[in-house]
C-alpha cells in the first residue's frame, strides 16, 4: 500500500537553517546538510529545503547545499524559493534536487509550469500554493509569503496547475501556518478532491493528531512539518508510529 509521507521542511537563508533545529545532538544545528542527514537517519520520507535567501550570493550557496545534501542523503529532495525560470529549475535539478517547487513565479507566468514540466517531467515540478480562507468553502491564493492577495481561487488554481503539468501541490494554509492548532482540513480536502495529483498539506501542525486528521479527513497524501520536528517535540518515528496506530499507512 502506498504510504502517506512525512516531510520535514528546512527554511534556509544564506546557506544556514533559520529556525535552529534542536533535535538530536548535532554538531552544527544550523547546517542544512547535517540537519538533512539527521532526518534521513530518522526515516523521513522526503525532505524540503525552502530557500528564503534574498541575495543572489545566497542563491549560489543554496546550490552548494543541495549538491552536498544529495551526495549524502539517498532520499527525495525538493527545493523551493526564488525559482523564476526554467533555467533556475535546471540548476537545482542538476545540483541534485529531485523536485523543484515554484509559487509566485507560477502565478505571474503559468507557462513556466508547463515549460518546466515539459523539459523535466511532471514528477519534478511542484507548485506551492499559499491560501487564506475568504468565506465558507472559499480560499484565496496569496503571494509573497501571504502578504499579497491575488484574484485566484485556491481550488481552481490547483486544478489549473495540475492541468499545466505540475506533478504535486504543496498546499499551505496561511490561516493555520504558525498556529500549531492543526491543518486547514477543509482546504486540503477541497483541493485533494479536485485534483488527481498528490497534495502535501502544510501549515498548522502542533500535535501528532493533527497529522492524522489531515491525512485522513483532509485527504492529503503527505504532510509537511517544521516546528514539531525541529524543536525535538516529536521524532519522525514517533509520528509514524502514531499514524500507524490510527490506521494511516506509513513506512516504518
Amino acid at each position: 500500500m502506498l504510504a502517506k509521507r512525512i516531510i520535514p521542511c528546512l527554511d534556509v537563508t544564506d546557506g544556514r537553517v533559520v529556525k535552529g533545529t534542536k533535535f538530536l545532538e548535532l554538531r552544527d544545528a544550523g547546517d542544512p546538510v547535517e540537519c538533512a542527514r539527521a532526518y534521513d537517519s530518522q526515516g523521513a520520507d522526503e525532505l524540503v529545503f525552502l530557500d528564503i535567501t534574498a541575495s543572489s550570493d545566497g542563491r549560489a550557496t543554496m546550490v552548494d547545499v543541495v549538491s552536498r545534501t544529495a551526495e549524502q542523503c539517498f532520499m527525495p529532495l525538493t527545493v523551493g524559493g526564488g525559482i523564476r525560470t526554467v533555467e533556475d529549475v535546471r540548476t537545482m535539478l542538476m545540483a541534485g534536487a529531485d523536485k523543484v517547487s515554484m509559487n509566485t513565479a507560477a502565478i505571474h507566468n503559468p507557462q513556466l509550469v508547463a515549460d518546466a514540466a515539459n523539459y523535466f517531467g511532471s514528477q519534478a515540478i511542484v507548485v506551492a500554493i499559499d491560501a487564506k480562507q475568504d468565506g465558507p468553502g472559499k480560499w484565496r491564493v496569496y503571494t509573497h509569503g501571504g502578504r499579497r492577495p491575488t484574484e485566484l481561487d485556491a481550488v481552481e488554481w490547483a486544478a489549473e496547475v495540475a492541468r499545466l503539468g505540475a506533478g504535486e501541490i504543496l498546499l499551505t494554509s496561511m490561516d493555520a501556518d504558525g498556529t500549531c492548532d492543526g491543518y486547514d482540513i477543509g482546504l486540503n480536502a477541497a483541493v485533494s478532491e479536485r485534483v488527481s495529483i498528490p497534495v502535501i498539506a502544510s501549515g498548522g501542525a502542533g500535535t501528532l493528531d493533527h497529522l492524522t486528521e489531515v491525512l485522513d479527513k483532509g485527504r492529503a497524501d503527505a504532510v509537511l512539518a517544521a516546528s514539531i520536528f525541529h524543536f525535538g517535540k516529536y521524532t519522525i518515528h514517533q509520528a509514524k508510529e502514531h499514524l500507524a496506530s490510527h490506521g494511516v499507512p506509513v513506512r516504518l
Binding site: 500500500m1 539517498f74 542538476m94 523535466f120 495529483i197 498528490p198
Partner: protein, 206 residues
C-alpha cells in the same frame, strides 16, 4: 581478492545522475559516467537510470550510438541494472510515446495508470510483494521502496517478475533474467533498502 568491477552509468543527457552515482559509491563501487560506445565496452556492468520521457530517451540513446550497443550488451547477457525508464525501455512500446520503439529485449508494453488507481504520478514509498531473486537477498519481506512514475511495464512473460507492487492493482515492480535486472522504483532514493539492493546487484557481479 576480488577486483573492483567497472560500473558504467549511462548518461544520455536527460538530467542529473549524481544521486545514482553517489548511491552506487555508497554501496561500494566506483561508477563512471558513460556517454560513448567505447566507454561502454570497457565496463563490466552498466546501470541505465531513468529520467524524462520514453521517446526522448530513445532518441538521445540512438543519437549517441548507444542504442544498438545496449541491445547487443543485453543480448550477450552482460550485467545490466535499469532504473525507472531504464526498466521501461527494455520492452517494446510505451503509451507515453506512441510510435517510438523500445529496446524490445522482452515482449510486453508500457502502459499508463488509469485514474481509478489513485493519484498520478504514483509517487512515494510503496511496499513490494512476492520479492524473489538476487536483488532482494537478505531483505525483510515486503520492503518499502520509493516510486515516482505514471507508466509501468506489463511483461508478457510473468516469470521475469522479481517483485510486484500494488497501486490500483498489481504491477511488475521489478524483473530479473540472468544478469539483467530492472526496477520501476528508485533504489538511489530508497535509503537503506535502496542501498541493500544496490549492494546485492554489485555482489551479483562477482
Amino acid at each position: 581478492m576480488e577486483t573492483q568491477k567497472k560500473i558504467g552509468v549511462i548518461d544520455y543527457g536527460s538530467g542529473n545522475l549524481r544521486s545514482v552515482t553517489k548511491s552506487l559509491e555508497a554501496a561500494g563501487s566506483s561508477p563512471d559516467l558513460v556517454t560513448t560506445v567505447a566507454q561502454l565496452e570497457a565496463c563490466d556492468a552498466i546501470v541505465v537510470p531513468g529520467q524524462g520521457a520514453f521517446g526522448d530517451c530513445a532518441k538521445n540513446l540512438s543519437a549517441s550510438g548507444m542504442w544498438d550497443a545496449i541491445i547487443e550488451w543485453i543480448k550477450a547477457g552482460r550485467p545490466y541494472l535499469g532504473i525507472c525508464l531504464g526498466y521501461q525501455l527494455l520492452f517494446e512500446t510505451s503509451e507515453e510515446s506512441p510510435g517510438t520503439k523500445g529496446l524490445g529485449i522482452f515482449p510486453g508494453k508500457v502502459v499508463r495508470f488509469t485514474p481509478d488507481a489513485g493519484k498520478i504520478p504514483h509517487m512515494g514509498w510503496n511496499q513490494l510483494k512476492d520479492t524473489t531473486g538476487p536483488l532482494f537477498t537478505g531483505m525483510d519481506a515486503d520492503p518499502f521502496f520509493y516510486f515516482v512514475h505514471s507508466y509501468y511495464p506489463i511483461p508478457d512473460d510473468a516469470s521475469l517478475v522479481s517483485a510486484y507492487c500494488e497501486y490500483g492493482g498489481r504491477f511488475a515492480a521489478s524483473i530479473s533474467s540472468g544478469a539483467i535486472h530492472a526496477t520501476q522504483f528508485h533504489p538511489e532514493k530508497s535509503q537503506a533498502s535502496g542501498q541493500a539492493l544496490l549492494k546485492n546487484f554489485l555482489k551479483s557481479l562477482n
